[in-house]
Each structure stands twice: as structure tokens, then as C-alpha cells.
Symmetry: none
Subunit: 412 residues, 2 copies
């Protein structure tokens, strides 16, 4: 089974909304082992939809349509498909009853065009709509499967998860299991990572290896197919070991984890507290940390010391340090980290100072960064960075490096 | 000119990312008067991409490709297009220099595959990449336009706005000018806004009026067409006046401005300083404020006082206040705002305290928020909010309300 998703709706082509349905369905189809080869978006136009269906039929066996099941003139998905594949539409009594009840409940008069929503392809499997009026359906002929789903994500998503997914799984003849696992790396560029494991990528077949870079991180998705779930897991594990031997020092987490999420996990599992002194990052590290619920047990507070005065007045950085080394220095980063940790009596103190740009500062280039890290009972660590990019990207990657150094040195 | 957008990337078909580029480009093409008839997504596969190009050529005159311009083996957009339309790729010296400099600056070794990013279609118009390495391009033959843009939105969006848009406008034969202006509102819901100007929306033709709600704000985009730029401006101005008479009190800015951007403009134009005390928002307000370059003249520092101890130790909130009113109270918000302002000797102090959830706190519901605002020489203001939504959305909207109150009361 090879899938294509056709979204119908001029609002997508006008850029008024994003096609999140395609992402949602693709993700779940991938997990079910059904490869998606194309997404198509077409407007509310019968001729163009018909052509899109013909193209899809020539290259895919499962075509999933999203949108165009509503009551208005624009909603022409069902009519167009019915005509194209030569199947009649018939009234679905149960859906009609639900629609009538909906209007009674809302104390509104049902206009005649709402009957249209209860019309379904004859002999299709009906997918109930628990969050709206138009039912979905799965229709099957000798050559293709046609699945029709409503456009609003709040109707489509539960419909697919509750009914659509199982309807498809019932049709899959092969009982292969697909398992996938994402390995998350930091501190290594995409090109370098691929160079390190080029032979593994070239030889891939089962499991497959797909790299994806974003926001200074690189992910590798390993996907294995097997008749046995256990064997699929084993295939992934063997490949993971092989990759870890090459670039394991950059691996920080799996699947949906994040660098800050790993820091939170570490703080919680070891019952440790942290405090934060931010100059360069201006509160970004604290903001991201406090986006995690329940973090108040591990984080009491921090100081944003943007000016030298704030560094002295709020954080007691010595005038001498600022005079001799400057605020953008290993010495200042170390003092900031130690002082915030002592001030708030936490196990860890971390600090960020540097030049986000666009202009240099203290004669230091944009992208010059010092991170300070103080663990109770240990000498402070400091880490220099030289980052390229925009102000935002320098700040964003600085906070990621902060997480990375905590993870690397916490258990050292 | 009729457009089609082809996104290349298996990560889209695996549902790992959403195709926001298609939305972004569609929206801007619509404003430029170029209709988009199809979006297509295809994986990192040369044969399937070639077929997608052939289909697109049969139905569109402008084909915009997004993604696949990077250094890895997966990035096959340029090669496939070059082969398909019979044009050579050549090294773009300027791009190559930029890539080399990037690696020198980041102190990383440039692997050989990065050269690939500097290869461009011969005779194409080059679109500079100010936020990444791979340049974009616009190539034109007798029958079609081919525009190639990088996949990451943070590279694609500025490239299109700075260079791609003009390159296309130069090719459009009709000399009508399209002008648009965005009015930005806060403190009014989308439904209420639409009700207030329902007749204006219903009567629209030139200028058109498009409402768009996102992240607690509502935008109205006014777009006028005319042979004369001056007349187009006049059409927009007349409509803007009409709208302002109805809902002008909620208007806070234009076009790409933001609430925080307006706060920064106000601080700069009046040469005022601000300090920040954050509990609920955990540093988010400071982080957003310091995303603006040059803000160090107006912002010295802040305190993130997440725990009651930090409120007392770092900010000297009185124990008595915490005992009698609690941390989530008008009294605490007022003390936080006054104390941070006095501590850092600024003109303005602002504070945030509340319950972000998921659990209630101090017997107060999730979404209970107090914002404190202290101007030098005035009694402090405090503002209660009761917000619905997730932890992130409560925090995000709280920072927006903070900006809104500063803007509203600064000149009062």
C-alpha cells in the first residue's frame, strides 16, 4: 500500500492556513508502515480535483482526501469522487439523525444544504464524526482505496485515530511491523555527521537512516520493518550501537526529547536544584526551563544581569574582574555562575555572557560566548564558544550549549 | 502567471515537519496577484521529483521549489532540475566564499560536500541567502519560471521577502501596483472585531480586508490595487481611517511590528529604562525584550523569582505580603514591580505573577494572573487577568498583556 494525501481547499492555496492534516496523517501512516509518497493541495474546483485524482491513481494505491465534506457549494469532494469512480451517493440515515439532533440541540433551524453532509459513497465503510457533522468514509474498488476525511483538524484527528486507522490496518495484507527510533545529536554539524557515517547511510535498506538538521541539532531516524516486533527492535538496536561507536559522544537523547528536557529529567532524577545568571541570553534559558511544569522544585530563581551595573549590584561580580578581563570573559562567567549558585543555595549555577550582535562589544566579535558552570563542591568550569549567525540564533544555540554542558559534566 | 509550489523533503512525507513554507509563499503570492493552483510534496527521490516537475510544467508557468539545496546526498533538487531542463550547474564564487568564511569563523573544518551548496544553475538570477549557506535562484526559459528556495523557513522567508519577491514582480507584465498594510490589534477577540466591522468586510473589493487571528492578536490586512502607487496608498488610508473610528482603541501597530517592538520603540523614543521581575513568566518577558538589538541602553536587568524564597531574598518582597495575600495577588505584584524598579533605579518596573498550570496554586485557578506596573513618581498599577489555555499560551499571552499595559499607561 502506497499512499498519497490530497487536501482540498482554496484557503490552503491562499496561504490562510497550514496543511497540518498532511503532517498528522503522514506521521501516523509512517508508524503503521504505509509509506506516503506525495502530498497534493488543490483548490475547491471540480476539474482540477478530478485531474489530481487521476494523477494520484496512477502512482498510489491509497488516496486520502481531506476537506470538502461540508454543506456549502464549495464542498465538492464527495460529488467529484463519486462521479469519477462511478459510484452513487446515498443518504446515511444515522448521520442524518445526528445532524438533525445537532440543530435541535443548538436551537437552530437546519437549512436544506446540511442534508448534503449525510450523503455517503454507496458501500463505503463509514467513519463516525464525533466532533462534527460530516462522516468520513473508506471506499475500496479493485485497484484503489479512497479515504475521505473532514478538513478541520479537530474532527479529522480523532476520526482517524478512532476509526480510520483501524479500517486501514484491517486492509493491510502484510502483517509487517514498522518500528522507528530517533537519535538526537548536538555539537556536530549535519555535514560532519553524514561524513562520519556515510557508509552506513549508503548501505541502508532495513533499517533505513534519515538525517534531519534543525536549530543547531541533528536527528537520525532509524526505521526497521519486520514480521516480528522484537526482531525489528533488534535491527534498530544493532544499528544504533554501530552509529554510537562513531558519534556517540554527540548523542544526547531519543525521540521527542530535547536538550532542556534532558536537563529537567536529570535535575528531577537526582533531586538537584539549579540557578541561572544570564547576560547574553537575557532570560531565555530561564524561560525555557520554566516552560516545564513542576520545575519549581528544582529551580528557585535567576538574575538577568544585562548591564555591568546589574552584574555588580545584583550578582556581586567584582569591579576588578570587569576592569581587567571584561564582562565577556572566562573570569566573569565563572564568577557569575558561582555567585548565583551561592546566592540561591542551589546545587548547580550556570551563567551566560557574550556578544549577540549585531555590533561587537568590548572589542570582541559577534558570536563570542562564555558559559560558566558551577557545581557545589567543585571548581567552576568555563566554556568558550565562537558562534556564527543572527542574534537570535546565537542566543538560541548558546542556551542549547548550556544544556549540553550540564548534561556532559553533571556526572563527571 | 500561474504558480505551483513543490516542496522536496522526505521529512515532510514522514510527518516530521509541517509545510509552513507553502503557506508563507502562497500568502505572499496571493498578495502579489499570482494565483497558486497546487502544492505538491515529494520525497528526496530524483525520479519522483522529475515526474512532479513534468506534471507541474503541464499545468503551471511558475514552479517554486523549496528544500533540497543543502550539502548532503539527500539534497538533489538542483541536480534533478538541471538535468531535466538541460542546464549546467556552475560554481558561484561569491557563495563559495561565504561558505568558506562561515566555517573559518565557526572554527570548523569545511567538509567537501559543502561545495555542493555553492553550485547554481547557469544564467539563473541568484537570490542571496543572508541566514544560511545555500543561495536561491530564479531561472527562466521560453515556457516556465523555476524558482529554487532553501527549505529552512528562517532562510526561505527572508530570502523571498528581500530578493525573490522583487525578482518575480520584475517578471510580471501587468504594471498594476499592489500595496498592502497590516493593522495589528490586541485586547479584542477575532469574533468581536469581525462583528464591529462586519459591513466593511462584506463590502470589500478594493482594498480587500483579510482578518487573521493568531497568538491572542488579530491582524487586518488591507490590500489595494491601482495603476498609481499613490492612489493605492490613498485607498488604503481611507479604509484605515474608517476602521480606526470603530476599533482604534485596540490598534497597537502596523505591518511587522509586535507588542514588544512597540515597547522598545517607546523606551527608545522617550529615553526611558525598564527592569523586570518575573515569577509566572520565568524570564520570557526579559528574553523577548533582549531579542531586540541595542536594548542594553534601556534595560539593565531583572530578577526571575520563581520561588517565594527568591521573591524575599532577591527582591525583598515582605513575608507579611506572602502570608496575608499570597504570591499570586495584587499586593505581591505591586511590591515586585516597585522593588525591582527601585533596586535597578529604572523609570519603569514591571512584574508578573500567577498560575501557569497544569495545577492550581495557593487555591487559585490555573490562568489567574497579576501584572504589576510601576512608573517612577506614580502609585503602582496592578492588573488581574483570568486566562484560559495551556501553560505556554498563558505565559505567552501574559507577556503580551504586559506590553499592552505599558503602551496604554506609559503616556497616561
Amino acid at each position: 500500500m502506497r499512499a498519497e494525501i490530497i487536501a482540498i481547499g482554496s484557503e490552503l492555496l491562499l496561504g490562510q492556513i497550514v496543511n497540518t492534516n498532511a503532517k498528522f496523517l503522514s506521521q501516523h501512516l509512517a508508524e503503521m508502515g504505509i509509506p506516503v509518497y506525495y502530498h497534493t493541495v488543490v483548490g475547491d474546483n471540480a476539474d482540477r480535483l478530478k485531474q489530481a485524482i487521476e494523477i494520484a491513481e496512477s502512482r498510489s494505491s491509497l488516496i486520502i482526501f481531506t476537506g470538502g465534506l461540508g454543506p456549502t457549494k464549495d464542498d465538492l469532494t464527495k460529488d467529484t469522487i463519486a462521479k469519477h469512480i462511478g459510484v452513487e451517493l446515498e443518504l446515511h440515515e444515522q448521520a442524518m439523525n445526528m445532524i438533525e439532533k445537532y440543530f435541535q440541540k443548538a436551537n437552530r433551524t437546519m437549512t436544506e444544504n446540511n442534508r448534503k453532509q449525510a450523503m455517503v459513497l454507496k458501500n463505503a465503510t463509514i467513519l463516525s464524526n464525533d466532533y462534527g457533522m460530516a462522516p468520513g468514509m473508506l471506499y475500496k474498488n479493485e485497484t484503489h482505496y479512497y479515504m475521505l476525511l473532514p478538513g478541520p483538524p479537530k474532527e479529522l484527528e480523532p476520526m482517524f485515530m478512532q476509526y480510520g486507522r483501524d479500517a486501514l490496518l484491517n486492509e493491510l495484507d502484510e502483517q509487517q511491523v514498522i518500528k522507528s527510533k530517533v537519535l538526537r545529536f548536538f555539537g556536530i554539524g549535519e555535514a560532519q555527521l553524514e561524513t562520519e557515517i556515510e557508509d552506513i547511510i549508503d548501505e541502508q535498506s532495513n533499517p533505513t537512516v534519515a538525517p534531519l538538521a534543525s536549530n543547531g541539532e541533528v536527528k537520525l531516524r532509524l526505521t526497521a520493518k519486520h514480521m516480528s516486533e522484537q526482531e525489528a527492535d533488534k535491527l534498530i538496536q544493532a544499528l544504533e550501537e554501530k552509529i554510537k561507536k562513531r558519534i556517540g559522544q554527540y548523542l544526547y537523547g531519543y525521540n521527542d526529547s530535547s536538550l532542556m528536557g534532558e536537563v529537567v529529567r536529570l535535575l528531577k532524577s537526582h533531586n538537584k536544584t539549579i540557578s541561572i545568571a544570564e547576560s547574553l541570553t537575557g532570560g531565555s534559558f530561564s524561560a525555557e526551563l520554566t516552560s516545564f511544569p513542576g520545575i519549581s522544585e528544582n529551580f528557585f530563581g535567576g538574575i538577568v544581569c544585562y548591564s555591568n551595573e546589574a552584574k555588580k549590584d545584583l550578582l556581586h561580580v567584582q569591579q576588578n574582574t570587569l576592569d581587567s578581563s571584561g564582562a565577556i570573559s572566562s573570569e566573569c562567567a565563572a564568577e557569575m555562575a558561582v555567585n548565583i549558585r551561592e546566592k540561591l543555595k542551589t546545587d548547580i549555577g550556570i551563567s551566560f555572557t557574550g556578544v549577540a550582535g549585531p555590533d561587537p562589544s568590548e572589542g570582541k566579535d559577534v558570536g563570542t560566548v562564555w558559559i560558566g558552570l558551577s557545581f557545589k563542591g567543585r571548581e567552576p568550569y568555563t566554556f568558550p564558544l565562537q558562534l556564527a549567525g543572527t542574534r537570535q540564533s546565537i542566543r538560541m544555540r548558546t542556551t542549547k550549549y548550556g544544556c549540553y554542558y550540564i548534561l556532559k559534566h553533571f556526572l563527571a
